[in-house]
Amino acid sequence: MSLPQHIKTPSRTPVYALVGNPNCGKSTVFNALTGLKQKIGNYPGVTVERKVGTAYSQHGQPMTIIDLPGAYSLAARSPDEAVTRDVLLGRRADTTMPDRVVCVVDGSNLERNLYLVHQILDLGRPVILVVNMMDLATAAGLQIRIGRLEKELGIPVIATSASRGVGLIELKLALSRTDLPLPKHRWEVPAPIAPAVAELQASLQDNDGKPPLIARAEALLLLTDQDPVRVAGSNPLSPTTAASLQNWKNRFERTGTDWSAILVGARYDAIAALAATCVESTDTPHLRQSTSDKIDAVVTHGVWGWAVLGGIMTALFLSIFTFAEYPMNLIDAGVSALADAVKANLAPGDLRDLITDGAIAGVGGVVIFLPQILILFFFIGLLESTGYMARAAFIMDRLMAYVGLSGRSFIPLLSSFACAIPGIMATRAIADPKDRLTTILIAPLMTCSARLPVYAVIIAAVIPAEKVGPGIGLQGLVLFVLYLAGIVSAMVAALVLRRSVTKGKASGFIMEMPRYQMPPIRDLLIGLWQRAWVFLRRAGTIIFMATVILWVLLSFPKAGEGESQLDASIAGQVASAMHPAFEPVGFNREMTLALVPAMAAREVAVASLATTYAVDAEDEAETEQALRDQIAARWSLPSALAFLAWFVFAPQCLSTIAVARRETNGWKWPVVMLVYLFAAAYIFAGITYWGAIALGL
């Protein structure tokens, strides 16, 4: 081949791609190289997180590092893996094709990790191999001969234990090298598929304008990609190449040539040969039980496993509600103080009201959830990085399979009990796009913390505080039934969605069970800082706009003498117009009115009802007390129950809808979500109302 044996550093800032299998410690390497100099965003058109950071060489030269999503293979199975493949192959117009590739592998699990490396060596880019988790490899009795690996592959190989900071200076030195050798490419394409690879490679060079080695790598990939995941923003194949590919696939089909088995087998043969010369095992690990095995004997046990899961879930909820209380009160006090300061310094009028009642109250009402969200994310990060999450998914998978989901959906749904927003964000870990979409669509059915104020006030008003059994109060029982109704309807919705709009083959549950690890606190904190920043930025933009608009709708036109502002406002008039539609399900006009501002957030319904009943109260406790009496006096029991049923389903939270739009990249799915949840809310409110009347309640 006439390619140069060394590729010089380009004159612009060099771009490195960081790739590796999930659980190989890649994030730790990325954080160690770039610290807080990271930009987090999304790849345009796909919901995959894009992480780009800047590292500095030993001479202070900047280097751009793209942290590509973890992947097991370039034959992509998830949107994450498709992005990794497309960036490496230069298929994405929005991302510069990396000049050099840094492959991170788990030294204690070398063979499987080298599979992806083997594919990447085909690309003809300079590669640096980072053998990470050397401490674990040594503990497992594995001796990896780094020098030998370097010689065999012809590329720099750096041994690291990134979580302890070992080997990072050596890695930076390797990154700073002005010339890096191209990998020695001694791997032969297996004979039965060689003609197909040659033809596809030629076509990719001639018709798709690919450089020779990239064309060869793509040709190999096209043959293994039986069900290629296409993602938005990637260039399609030229018609000639696509026709040639189809032609070969048909021919292999006829002759019974299992091309993918031949390719994968040939790669693993090459890896086995490499491992035989470079890795020595001084231990017989299969004979002794590792710590992970001992923990798993309990954590995945038929009885103890459920106890551990239940215990962790309880701890999670308790900590969200108890630890978050103090910072939430602080934020609340801060927001009030800010509003008071504005009130003291501005003349009364619309501008002042807009700032205090609109902007500060609205954004403050959302920012107050920041502590809960951070605690939740810390816990989830902890469970994920230690390896427990994979176990929770493992024991829950069978149950989730009943409704067409997999164990991977369990944690996002669990998170949604606190708030659907982090729940929906956590669905990124779900590989199967249809599973992921279904999980996003049902997440709002999990009873989030914002519904509690609504439930609490109405239950206290209309449900008598009597005992229905030893230690069981009727009020508590109703609350429990509302939570249960959320869970059951989420499962039913999943079942229906998986058979209709998100129809598809069951996704299976091929998942690596990683070894247990000590949590990498530094990585967790960097992750939390990023979450907090994204959340606050959103509160400052989308939520700010929404609350200001809502304030305008509630404040204009101005009420006349003896008329309530809510009645006169545009929102009030909308409610009056809507009322005939809600009469059949038992809602009175005030209830309908409360639904309009509650579009911003469910708990606003309580505040809105309180205003409507013109409760003149000094503090919140008194407001709730008085409101309770008003509701008890004015609402019939069937109406109140119908209102509760409505809130089990109604997707009344602008932020959730905004997040669903961002995570699904478009308005189609948020609209589907809105329509089905509002329809369910309406239908079940009606059933509850008429059912209660029929029962003579």
Binding site: R112, Q226, V264, D397, R398, M511, E512, M513
Partner: protein
């Protein structure tokens, strides 16, 4: 020589050598890429509390798969 049987019917704790594999299907391509190839030795570590999915050990790491997938993977138990 023992008779090949589906991976889903292997006794917990036993090792076996992988023999046969379905050609088509993205799931099986992925299992191959994860290092499960004809001739590879694996051990069935456990099943989940409800009997499905399975956890196997292969090439020094642990992997899960559902029974519906394991039904199609033929293995030959290794004499202890």
């Amino acid at each position: 020589m023992t008779e090949p049987l589906p991976l889903s019917q292997l006794a917990i704790g036993t090792s076996a050598v992988l023999r046969e594999y379905p050609k088509a299907g993205a799931a099986f391509l992925r299992l191959r890429e994860m290092g499960l190839l004809p001739g590879t030795t694996l051990t069935l570590v456990r099943t989940a509390p409800l009997g499905d999915p399975l956890e196997i050990k292969v090439r020094g790491y642990h992997l899960t798969l559902r029974k519906t997938e394991a039904d199609h993977v033929l293995v030959e138990p290794v004499e202890q």
